[in-house]
């Protein structure tokens, strides 16, 4: 190999940021602008838009979280609702015991759901294929059974949550929650981007393509899968932590809803699983359409639509919107 310094392939442009950090910077910038915009808009828009925005943001976090293991690593998690509900009920328990600020609830939810991801992963990710998927499905069902029989958190009846008073920058609690979710979504997308571009993402991509060949190329597959399962689980838990305050009444059927697990798989698949922005696009598209359908037709129609879109994309555009955009860009070069 040549020992001389290789000639620079691209002359460095006079920017402050190396190219590899540009997307990350764009995510932070967009997130900050959106947080500021949400704060400024305040109560000038109807509360309905906040409710709709909250749901879409929640799905951006969930599908981004799902994609870190499912999209990058190819290990499908059917139990998103289990991790999400772990976050919800962490808030419920902490709220009943201590009345802590929501940010602390969210940190605790991240720790608990992250541990759940690590534990489920440790028990099943040594095995290849569908074992992890089945285990995550089982985990959600077991957790739901536990919660149904746990009267401290309301059992099957559910539990009411009283929203604390809100002051300062925020006009209403819904306003606060949406601002919080914009921040959380920004953090989640930033985390997914960082994972994708780091050695973890490269190793996960090798695992997704061929785990055996990855292992014999030196990729520590179990370790990478566990890291991904932990980050993924933690983000799902964080997405669940504010939810009790959003709905103010929560029962196991809502927290463990099938729609959560289904959407967090469908959205990345529709958007595209290979990049950090695929799940964001998918969640935004499917989430918005579902909101519109819920209002204009019926709430039953929106799950039907998710199913139809999922089948259409898997059959016609398996790389999702990302794949379509990339093919279009290549065609125009």
């Amino acid at each position: 190999m040549s020992t001389q310094a290789a000639p620079a392939h691209e002359p460095r442009k006079s920017t402050l940021l190396p190219a590899r950090f540009r997307s990350g910077f764009a995510i932070v910038l967009a997130g900050t602008v959106l947080v500021a915009a949400t704060i400024l808009v305040g109560s000038r828009v109807s509360e309905y838009y906040y409710l709709a925005a909250y749901t879409i943001l929640q799905f951006i976090v969930l599908s981004t979280a799902w994609n870190i293991l499912g999209g990058y690593g190819g290990y499908v998690n059917f139990g998103t609702a289990g991790f999400f509900a772990a976050g919800c009920y962490t808030t419920i328990v902490l709220n009943k015991l201590f009345q802590l600020p929501l940010l602390i609830d969210m940190s605790a939810a991240a720790a608990i759901a992250g541990l759940m991801g690590f534990g489920t992963g440790y028990l099943t990710l040594r095995l290849r294929g569908v074992f992890f998927s089945i285990a995550t499905l089982a985990l959600a069902i077991v957790l739901q059974t536990v919660v149904i029989n746990w009267s401290f958190v309301g059992g099957a009846r559910g539990v009411y949550v009283v929203r604390p008073e809100i002051t300062g920058l925020f006009d209403s609690y819904a306003h606060f929650l949406v601002t919080l979710m914009v921040g959380l979504a920004t953090c989640a997308v930033l985390a997914a981007w960082a994972v994708e571009k780091s050695w973890i993402g490269i190793g996960l991509a090798a695992i997704r393509d061929d785990e055996t060949a990855a292992e014999t190329s030196g990729v520590p597959s179990l370790r990478l899968k566990l890291i991904a399962a932990t980050i993924s689980g933690a983000l799902m838990g964080m997405a669940g932590a504010p939810f009790p305050y959003y709905v103010t009444y929560i029962d196991p059927a809502t927290a463990f809803s099938l729609a959560i697990a289904l959407n967090s798989i469908a959205m990345p698949l529709v958007g595209g699983t290979a990049t950090w922005w695929g799940p964001v696009v998918g969640a935004f598209m499917l989430g918005s359409v579902q909101q519109i359908l819920t209002v204009t037709i019926s709430s039953a129609a929106n799950l039907f639509l998710v199913g139809v879109l999922l089948v259409v994309f898997v059959a016609a555009a398996p790389r999702g919107v990302v794949g379509i955009v990339r093919a279009w860009r290549r065609g125009h070069k």
Binding site: M1, D210, T212, T216, S217, G218, V219
Partner: protein
């Protein structure tokens, strides 16, 4: 040089009732070129899988570079310098050819600088003759090119031992010579090589020693000409 770099002692592997390997001893010395032959289904690939950590033998032990590696996972073996190719090419299909080469550079060798990795990958693509395919997807490669990619990815791990599992299948005579020249050069640079091959011309030209496995047992181990003259080997290959 008589130091063993890779050794298997009395390893056995069964799949349900089927004995794929029975009490196989195997030695590869530092700097040596060994050919492993045997009919299809004789256990060659199972032996390679046990050596590289894809499979764990039911009995016996494996040592590499002075350490017992019987219970050590495949990725650690790769990091320590045990690389292999796959008989049926297993590229990372979602990556470009160059990115395929970069995976072992990053993980097995432990390079972190993007520039170092890309330069090293270019060098290896040169070695195996895939430079003009660097940015392409493995999906558009021919079978021959895929075998070269397998070899390139194994070389990228900077191995002490290279196990080449049928890297020449389907290649033309001149391409076989090209790969043999490459392997011989790598061997001269100090890499010990185990060659699993059906092309007898290549095996006889390349190997300093030949090991024959038939029905999960080692039936011969010695100098190429001596081994090929043994009755048992002749029977296994030509029938009674």
């Amino acid at each position: 040089m008589n130091v063993n770099i890779l050794a298997a002692e009395r390893i056995s592997k069964r799949f349900d009732g089927f004995a794929a390997l029975t009490d196989v001893d195997f030695i590869l010395r530092k700097g040596e070129r060994v050919g492993l032959i045997g009919p299809n289904g004789s256990g060659k690939s199972t032996l390679v899988n046990c050596l590289t950590g894809i499979l764990t033998p039911d009995d016996g032990s494996i040592t590499f570079d002075g350490a017992d590696i019987t219970a050590i996972p495949a990725w650690v073996r790769a990091k320590r310098g045990l690389a292999r190719t796959y008989q049926i090419p297993r590229p990372f299909r979602g990556m470009s050819v160059q990115e395929n080469i970069e995976v072992p550079l990053r993980f097995a060798v432990g390079h972190t600088s993007a520039r170092t990795i890309s330069d090293a990958a270019q060098f290896i693509l040169h070695q195996v003759g895939l430079v003009d395919k660097a940015g392409r997807s493995p999906k558009v490669l021919t079978q021959v090119e895929l075998r070269k990619l397998e070899l390139g990815r194994a070389l990228a791990a900077q191995p002490k031992v290279l196990i080449a599992d049928e890297v020449m299948a389907g290649l033309s005579d001149s391409e076989v010579d090209e790969i043999l020249a490459l392997l011989t050069r790598l061997n001269a640079e100090g890499i010990s090589i185990l060659l699993i091959e059906h092309i007898m011309r290549a095996v006889m030209m390349f190997s300093q020693r030949i090991v024959v496995v038939v029905a999960g047992r080692k039936i011969a181990d010695g100098l190429p000409d001596d081994v090929m003259q043994q009755d048992e080997v002749e029977r296994a290959y030509l029938g009674e």
